[in-house]
Symmetry: C2
Subunit: 459 residues, 2 copies
């Protein structure tokens, strides 16, 4: 009952929203009132269901501040598409309201013509700053940093600093990280100041006395992996980003790194299951179909290649037709065993417990487990096959093939992520198809060549 009520409410909300957006009367109050009654997830659900023109119309009618609040609730792909649909001046007013790292992400994700049009509507210095930030890859320090930083001169005292902060109190409002940075002439970073230390310090102290001197800092090119390792090793809430001359560029917060790491992890999961692009079910059918087919068509090709091994042994198979029952099992089980080894390698890589060069260590560790599990699984399936065919040799062929193939699968699965990582290919996306193609071929080959060898015992 409850679920149905919720569904009705949502249908009503969506209908009301659409009616408001279709009416010529552009009064904004009913819209803000309706949106104000929804929480973040309800807003996201309603807005995602709107056609893209109406999403843009909604953003156009709201104030830029209110539009940003709506955008904050939406998946990134929806944000980009809706903003691209807006007139450049409206989009620019919204971009102006975003924090610096979100500005750069959005502009970087838009198609280049739309992005250029938006930048042209912004003040020159803001446009330049955004374009510079957007030029960094999204998953490195430059792409994750915020440029909203409290930078204080090294010659100040606690008292003058507090007076200045009190005068411009709002500047502290939206800071994600609770540090201020002490800079020398030319914005060269010389120290870090925790705001809480400012709170408890003697007012006559100089900042250079209470700051942490020679602070850790990172270059803008630092990749996400190293940022994760950095925050694993240090308990800071943020780390300053500097250029080649040691000048303060911005700050990467632990929060931004955590969020990027989570996004990477969930997207690893999705890509390992063949969702290559960020699909939402509210997208048009043809587009969703095409997104999925890009992955499926590679897979069907690989599958045909693997199955060609069976075709080569059709003669054997027609003499020992019972084998056809067990070929899909051998193929699927080897895939399962190999994927476990893939997942353990992915985990050890991300924990820093394994380096891409250590394939020998992986082989030693996987070899023993693969041998054991091959014996157990091969033994099990062998017994089933022998009973089914009423022929012990059938058990030996099927069980032997699965045992061999389990060993091959874990050896291969353990090192595939290492090899892909070294080659710069995304292991989450490519490991599984690569693995199952090879293990399918190897499994079919083991079973059918063993059967050919023992043909007189089997028929």
């Amino acid at each position: 009952m409850e679920a149905t009520d919720v569904a009705i409410d949502e249908a009503q909300v969506l209908e009301k929203l659409e009616r408001l957006l279709e009416s010529e009367d552009a009064a904004v109050e009913p819209l803000t009132e309706l949106l104000g009654s929804l929480d973040a997830r309800e807003t996201a659900r309603a807005v995602c269901e709107l056609p893209i023109e109406q999403q843009a119309e909604l953003l156009r009618r709201l104030s830029p501040e209110a539009a940003v609040e709506v955008l904050d609730t939406l998946p990134e792909v929806t944000v980009v598409e809706a903003v691209e649909e807006l007139p450049a001046d409206v989009a620019a007013a919204i971009v102006h309201e975003l924090p610096s790292d979100d500005q750069a992400d959005l502009i970087g994700a838009m198609d280049s013509a739309a992005a250029a049009a938006v930048l042209a509507e912004l003040a020159d210095d803001e446009a330049e700053r955004i374009a510079e930030l957007a030029a960094y890859p999204e998953d490195c320090a430059g792409g994750l940093m915020a440029t909203e930083v409290v930078a204080l001169r090294d010659i100040a005292t606690v008292e003058t600093t507090l007076r200045r902060l009190r005068a411009g109190a709002t500047k502290l409002r939206d800071l994600d990280v609770q540090y201020a940075y002490v800079v020398a002439k030319g914005r060269r970073l010389v120290g870090v100041l925790r705001l809480r230390d400012l709170l408890i310090a003697d007012e006559r102290s100089r900042l250079t006395e209470i700051m942490i001197a020679d602070p850790l800092s990172i270059p803008a090119e630092t990749p996400l992996d190293e940022l994760i390792a950095f925050f694993d090793s240090n308990s800071f809430l943020g780390v300053p980003v500097v250029d080649g001359e040691g000048r303060l560029l911005g700050v990467v917060s632990r929060r931004a790194v955590d969020e990027a790491a989570e996004e990477q992890a969930t997207s690893d999961y999705r890509r390992s299951m063949g969702v290559v692009a960020e699909e939402l079910r509210s997208m048009p059918v043809l587009r969703r179909s095409r997104m999925r087919l890009s992955w499926l068509s590679v897979n069907i090709l690989l599958n045909v290649v693997a199955a060609s091994v069976i075709a080569a042994y059709e003669e054997t198979l027609s003499s020992v037709i019972a084998l056809a029952v067990f070929l899909p099992i051998i193929s699927d089980m080897s895939g399962c065993s190999g994927n476990q080894a893939v997942a353990v390698s992915m985990r050890e890589l991300s924990l820093g417990l394994l380096r891409p060069s250590e394939w020998l260590r992986v082989w030693i560790k996987e070899g023993s487990v693969g041998f054991l599990n091959g014996l157990v699984l091969g033994g099990l399936l062998g017994v089933v096959a022998a009973l089914y065919a009423g022929n012990v040799w059938m058990g030996i062929v099927v069980g032997g093939a699965l045992a061999i193939n389990t060993l091959v699968a874990v050896l291969l699965g353990g090192v595939i992520p290492l090899a892909l990582k070294r080659a710069g290919v995304d292991p989450a996306l490519a490991s599984s198809p690569l693995l199952t193609t090879v293990t399918d071929m190897c499994g079919f080959f083991s079973a059918l060549s063993l059967a050919t060898l023992l043909l007189d015992k089997l028929v």
Copy 2:
């Protein structure tokens, strides 16, 4: 070259560490010196490679503070096992040094006898507090909260507060969240104070004047999903946790929620690939083999069930042996299509764009994509099959079976995570085996029953 050098260094470090731990001389300086030369990941790699007795010996020799630094670098499963191996008094000294949420996680994860022994060594009030915290499930507000909170009385002024903070300055040191909480008599929560507001406030103000009154708070039972949604909707760095009477229990930081969400996402990924427990390659072979077999043995059973469909049609198959080449392809491709639908549902569930009750919406959206992709993939494979067998009916059987099965797979894959979620079963772990078993059976059945129907056209 570089990789080899690194490997040699690490072997040397490990050897030196083992030699130090084996020597009777319990001098701690060489140990701390060696560990001091390693960063977090190097420490983790070296310690994980040690046998468990030596891991415990290392922790025993270090000061509790230094032991905590080592533990911070290790995967959770290693921490728990090493601490369980310690004498209770040594373990208690280490637990005493941990932040409150880590204390509770560790005690909660240890086996109950070892946990009780450690608690018995701690002061009564600390033991009681830890036991209370450990009683909360790990992924709810109570399990994620820290009890280190700055709680200020509502009758204080800014000046008296600053004086008290300056007197006990260290109390602020290790706070994760930059809020203080204002409480009335009986620790009842009445307001939230941002430390930065304290910094810029007039010293004569009362805390009640500058605090945010009637702050948002959450009960200790709030599950992780709702915490993620809460921090999605609000930009706070933390949220206070209260009991049924509104008394302040602790604070859940955005950081703790982000980290738990990331852990959940990576563990979803691993479990979807059949890594049920937290395996590390440094664990003993038999244990790793057993961990993996628990998942594999369920899968082999399901595979045998699915393959029984082929066995039932052995007669048809022996007349149309070419079909045996295509059965594994149909099985694998349907699994791929279905897993895409699983992953999209998992994503929409976690974004809050889909509720577990909305299977009808999923079916409508998946039906259209499944129909289209079924046509494309079935058409492709049908052409291959017709060419291979030199018989257009063969193409119709194989292509038709894949088309039907693609539709079935996405309809099923789209709703399986919803059904499992409602049933309280982990969708990441169970979706894929469930899906592929049903789609295998359905695919084999479609292909073989179609072939039986059209047998006179095929031979």
